[in-house]
Amino acid sequence: MALPALPKDFRASFRFKLFAIFTTVTAVVTLLFISLFIITEIREQRRLAADKVHLLAARLADSIRLPLYAENRETLQRLAEETANSPEIHSVVISTHDGRVLADLHKPDTIGPDELLSETVEVRSSPLGASPESAITSNRRAPEPTLIGTVRLERDTRDLKQRIRGLVWTSCLLALGFWLTVSLLSYLALRQVTSSFNNLMSGIQIMRNGNYGYRIGVEREDEPGRAAIAINELAASLLERDRENQRLQEELLSAMRLEVQEEKKLLMAKLIQTNRMTSLGLLASSMAHEINNPNGSIRLAGQYLGRAWNDAMPLLQQVSAEEGDFSLGGIPFSTARDNISECCATIDRNTDRITHVIQDLRSYSVGERNELYPGVDINQVVTNALAIIHAHGTHTDTSISADTSPQVPVITANYHQLEQVLVNLLMNAVQAVQGNKGGIVVSTAYNADDDEVLIIVRDEGTGIPPEHMERLRDPFFSTRIDKGGSGLGLFVANFIVNQHCGKLDFASAPGAGTTATVRLPLTPPPRA
């Protein structure tokens, strides 16, 4: 059955469900009991009617025993009329044992056979009656009464049906009244009982909307009352937690704001550094142009001096042989002879180096692609890098030694880029060992298994914390930003090694120094 008139909230309420269940169960039980009562009462009415007819018939049978035996029709008719005076008796028929009807009394009403309740009773001799034969022997066994005749009574059951109909109506009205009364009382009781629940639910609804400051009123110390107390405590706890969360959120926002500012500062510093490096690149590019010209002149002059010295050497040796040793530039000719040749070679070599450096600076600054060349000697790269570091002069108290292997084959690489890689690694090592009085060892090796050469830079410095190991190759990561570090050294070195299809690995532990290993294939695969 639909309940469109009732609000959904009311239909879903605990009170309504209890009321519906209770009234339904009460209605079913009432219906069941009233049905059983009616059925039982109908059976009882029918049984009582049948018993009454049977009693009337039995009484008549008892009273007509003698006149029926004597076949006294007048007496039988009179007794039958007396019995028929009862309004519900429709007919009385008295017959002998052989079926002869001695009295037949029918009321004039026309009644269907289904509306008649018929009862036939046998008329038998009195069980106490004794024949002379049994009397003279005092036979105490009760003789079987002999059949004298029968009495048949028919009862009009219309009044019975009317009475049953009235009974049904009365029962139904009583049941309806009972059900309504019980339902009303149950509603009142439920309203009283569930008022605590409603109070509790309205409070929960308010809290559900976010008002944790609301407190549910406790009317009684029953289950809902105790639940309300518990929920109030829970709400208070939630409110406290909410406040705590809010405070933490504000603190978090504040911290994040500070952190962002710090990051911003660092980022700006890196940007400034990058900008500085860019400017440095531009400066290097312009410097290359300004240096290349005098360097070329110096180189040409040096070469000319060398050739001139070589041409003059036989003459000077002849003079020395003839005239003895003489002073040249403040030093004896015998000493100056080799020094001057060496100076000319140094001028030629360094000017050549200046040319390459300038060329590399230009390539780096204009982003040119660096080419790889075969026949690069790794040991020479190490020697030159160490010379640069020595020339840098920031490691006066640091021991830097080389342990190069003569079996290392030449590889295909960019000499100057590898030199830059090694200089970066050495610079980091020098910075790591400063103050520790430790040493730095640069070694080379050949790994025949993987057909690769190794450049190993091992220092005895402070080591790298584990949390920094993963970020060593990241750009702008440096622990020395505040001391002028750019955070690009290892990033560039890793980039160059990757360009050579090699690998740059670090092994370190705090306080145990750091080992940087560059692995380079003899011949990198062709670039795409």
């Binding site: 003698l66 009195s126 106490l128 024949s131 002379p132 005092s138």
Partner: protein, 297 residues
């Protein structure tokens, strides 16, 4: 030789066995197992111990009494009850003494060897009782074909006791009720005779209804009716009846002709009363000088 001897022995034994079976004087036939018959038999055995065989008819599906008599050859038959008397109707060779039978006088003509004691107490006992009760008009219902002899005997003696018998004859049991109705207001007491027409199982009740309606005492012939409403009963003493039968048997066995023994009335009777009914009907009497033994039920 031996085979002939064996055959002769068997024939001898076959002839001897019936002779051995004839070892008693009286064949006692009882209609059924009944304590009343036991009382009679006890009285029968009291004065003299006869050799006897007792046959109870209801123990057999169909008892052939004639064959038993032929084979046992008793010297006489004592029949107790109407069924036993009916079963003895074909016996001719030995005397029959019948007791406890209401139809004994009806069969007398058909059975010349029949003697016995009827169940009608001598009328003077009843008349004396009515006299003591101060009842002058006494109603009697009977079938003259059965009890006419007794009525005549009673009427002859009634005037000596100053009693008037108001007689209603009924040839049919169904007429008994009409006859009773006709006695209303005509009698001071009702005399119930052992007449199987006037008193049946169906009509016995009517006597006591009449007694209640008319406030007159009923004097019956058996104590069994006291419980139904009879005021008094002149009942035959069964032990005395047995003794009386034993005397008749002794005479019969001694050779007295059955015709001489005839059918006699019982000697021993006793009076039984229902004090409650007597009190209700206002009947007061004393029988100190009568020959009746009085007992109260």
């Amino acid at each position: 030789m031996h085979r002939h001897s064996l055959t002769a022995l068997i024939l001898f034994l076959a002839l001897l066995l019936p002779a051995l079976a004839q070892a008693y004087d009286v064949l006692v036939l009882e209609s059924r197992r009944d304590r009343a018959y036991d009382e009679v038999l006890r009285g029968f055995r009291t004065p003299r111990r006869f050799t006897e065989r007792v046959v109870i008819l209801t123990d057999y599906a169909e008892a052939d009494i004639v064959r038993i008599v032929r084979e046992d050859r008793p010297r006489m038959v004592l029949a107790m009850g109407d069924a036993a008397l009916a079963a003895s109707r074909k016996i001719r060779q030995v005397p029959i003494i019948a007791v406890m039978s209401l139809g004994i006088r009806d069969r007398r003509n058909a059975l010349p060897n029949l003697a016995g004691i009827d169940m009608f107490a001598p009328p003077e006992h009843y008349l004396e009782l009515f006299q003591e009760m101060k009842k002058r008009r006494v109603g009697v219902i009977l079938n003259p074909a059965k009890c006419g002899w007794y009525l005549r005997r009673a009427q002859q003696m009634a005037h000596r006791y100053g009693i008037k018998l108001v007689v209603r004859e009924t040839p049919n049991p169904r007429d008994t009720l009409d006859r009773l109705t006709s006695l209303k207001g005509e009698v001071d007491a009702l005399w119930m005779l052992p007449d199987t027409t006037a008193v049946t199982r169906e009509t016995a009740e009517a006597y006591f209804v009449f007694s209640q309606e008319e406030q007159v005492p009923v004097v019956a012939f058996a104590g069994a009716y006291l419980t139904l409403g009879a005021a008094a009963a002149v009942e035959i003493d069964r032990t005395e009846l047995g003794k009386q039968a034993a005397e008749m048997a002794a005479k019969a066995l001694s050779g007295t002709d059955t015709a001489e023994l005839a059918i006699v009335s019982p000697n021993g009777v006793s009076l039984k009363t229902n004090p409650s009914v007597l009190k209700r009907l206002g009947v007061v009497f004393g029988l100190m000088d009568t020959n009746l033994r009085i007992s109260r039920e």
